[in-house]
Symmetry: C2
Subunit: 76 residues, 2 copies
């Protein structure tokens, strides 16, 4: 794994992908749980959008984790 520090977008994307897959959810299921569009979820997972705090909170609520968990690099 690279030693280069992750950007916040990368950390968020990796955590969302990991937690989504742990739940066996597709992007579409996660999008439904968040009340967001599937393509928007795909954009977030590709670090392609400057997501807002309100939408990060929606992901946290949908995934049943505290919001800061989504921004903290995961140590496997």
């Amino acid at each position: 794994m690279s030693k280069r520090p992750q950007s916040a977008r990368q950390t968020l994307a990796l955590n969302i992908i990991r937690l989504r897959k742990e739940r066996g959810w597709t992007q579409e299921v996660l999008a439904d749980e968040c009340g967001l569009h599937r393509t928007y979820v795909g954009d977030i997972e590709r670090c392609a959008r400057n997501v807002s705090i309100d939408n990060i909170e929606r992901f946290a609520n949908a995934l049943s984790v505290e919001i800061w968990i989504l921004l903290k690099p995961h140590r496997a």
Copy 2:
């Protein structure tokens, strides 16, 4: 203190205010360190804006903390 869960905007605002004051910085100093406008910093501290992840990262860099620290409720 209220038992009601804080919104993500509130947690962010309280952490930014606390860390800024610990450093003895005005909103203007923090804004300069972030490369943002002073009124924007005031808006964030009043929970009046849906701040983006890139700008939360700017606050974290300016305050020399990891980004997730800004989203985690502070236990005094």
